[in-house]
Symmetry: C2
Subunit: 259 residues, 2 copies
């Protein structure tokens, strides 16, 4: 349980062991579906049929399964009513070079809120993006709150943990992607930009937007026009709107859907 607490609470512990914690039978099942080699499963006393079934699946695949004493899980992860199963699973990120020829990538330069980061992952996965690149300075995608907000999306879209934003953007440019910074105002209307071409959507900080010094590594900027009040979308919602506009344009380009 010391280890569970450490992996839950400390990024450095996660990085050292290259493992993180997922909660709940549904997400654990999705990890197994995705072929992840689940290391350990922890069942709390409240575990019911769904939790026992997924633990059995994991055990069949070689996971260790532990049954916990009452309140042990609450103490380890500091959540009042945790899901009755959690598991330790290995990191799923990969190198950008391993993605192949990506057509749609979302880049988190400086997304700080774990909930927003999770929503970005979820949007990217739903819209069929080829990767989410998380740069230095952005929140750890394996942070428990980000994992929870991503609702399993970590297992459905390739994640790349990159270094400094400039280097990551240079690498994406070399792959032939148009790198478009998202800005609250002053960018091109995102619906008038060709998002059917290979594109990297670059998301900045919730409050400050994109940091300075990246201009050499961007091919343009886009803005979501707000008929209502500006600054009303958070970065997760922004990602959803942009990713699904890219998906729409790709259907149009493929001759499916409307113009």
């Amino acid at each position: 349980m010391q280890r569970l607490r450490r992996l839950w609470g400390r990024r450095s512990a996660r990085v050292d062991e290259r493992c993180f914690v997922v909660e709940g039978a549904k997400v654990l099942g999705e990890a197994l579906d995705a072929g992840v080699a689940v290391e350990s499963v922890y069942l709390a006393p409240g575990a019911g049929a769904p939790e026992l079934a997924v633990a059995a699946r994991a055990a069949d695949r070689g996971s260790r399964v532990f049954e916990l004493a009452p309140q042990a899980l609450e103490r380890a992860i500091g959540t009042v009513t945790p899901q009755p199963v959690v598991a330790v699973v290995p990191f799923v990120d990969r190198a950008l070079a391993a993605i192949g020829r990506p057509q749609l990538v979302v880049v988190c330069v400086d997304v700080r809120d774990p909930g927003n980061a999770g929503t970005v992952l979820r949007s990217a996965a739903a819209a069929g993006a080829d990767a989410v690149v998380v740069c230095d300075g952005a929140v750890d995608p394996y942070n428990p709150k980000a994992v929870r907000a991503s609702a399993g999306a970590l297992f459905h879209v390739p994640v790349v943990v990159a270094g400094p934003p400039a280097a990551a953007l240079a690498e994406l440019g070399a792959l032939g992607l148009a790198r478009l910074g998202t800005v609250a105002r002053g960018g091109a209307d995102y619906t008038t930009v060709d998002l059917a071409a290979p594109t990297a959507l670059v998301l900045g900080n919730e409050a400050q937007g994109l940091p300075g010094g990246l201009d050499d590594h961007l091919d343009g900027t886009v803005t979501i026009p707000m008929p209502g009040r500006a600054e009303s979308l958070n970065v997760g919602m922004t990602a959803a709107v942009l990713c699904f506009e890219a998906a729409r344009q790709r259907r149009v380009a493929a001759g499916v859907g409307s113009g």
Copy 2:
């Protein structure tokens, strides 16, 4: 403080007094900007310049201002680190008949999660919708978590608290809006439907979708195609994607933006 606790914690108390609680200098300032007659302002000991300035604005407009003892606010609203200013403000909802001739309306038939409800309000406000209609069975839009997630959007888009969904949809139909139910699968691709025409986007329950028995009150159904995994968008993200597609189509219809 008893009253603040009651209004914070109990829907029945809010409905009886037709008042709710907002948190933070930013949202309170937006309420004042919107012309809301703020009733009472409560300053906690941690209040700084932004809180004092907005309290002064409210006092100038006739609000009562109370300075709270240490920990009083924490005890009243049960939040560990509350914003150092909260206020009691009157309900802002209005009758559908008071909206005029709405062109874009979002209808929450059965949205249960306060965070999702807040995100729906935020998306609708940002995209310039004319109203959000909240039916019986959906979460109270004045629930503190919904208010927090809406980030002030309650003051930027008209809210209608309606009765049973069937009656609300009948009324919207009579106003000439095409009532489109959002469904996880089997509906028309939302990008191929004319959302530039007067439209009511009808959102169901997070898990179960739209309840049965509404078919007579819907003019069609729409689905967001998911190139990635289905069921990956929550209802707040769904609202953002649909509202901004409506905004896009309206710009195209007005001759602004691309097709």
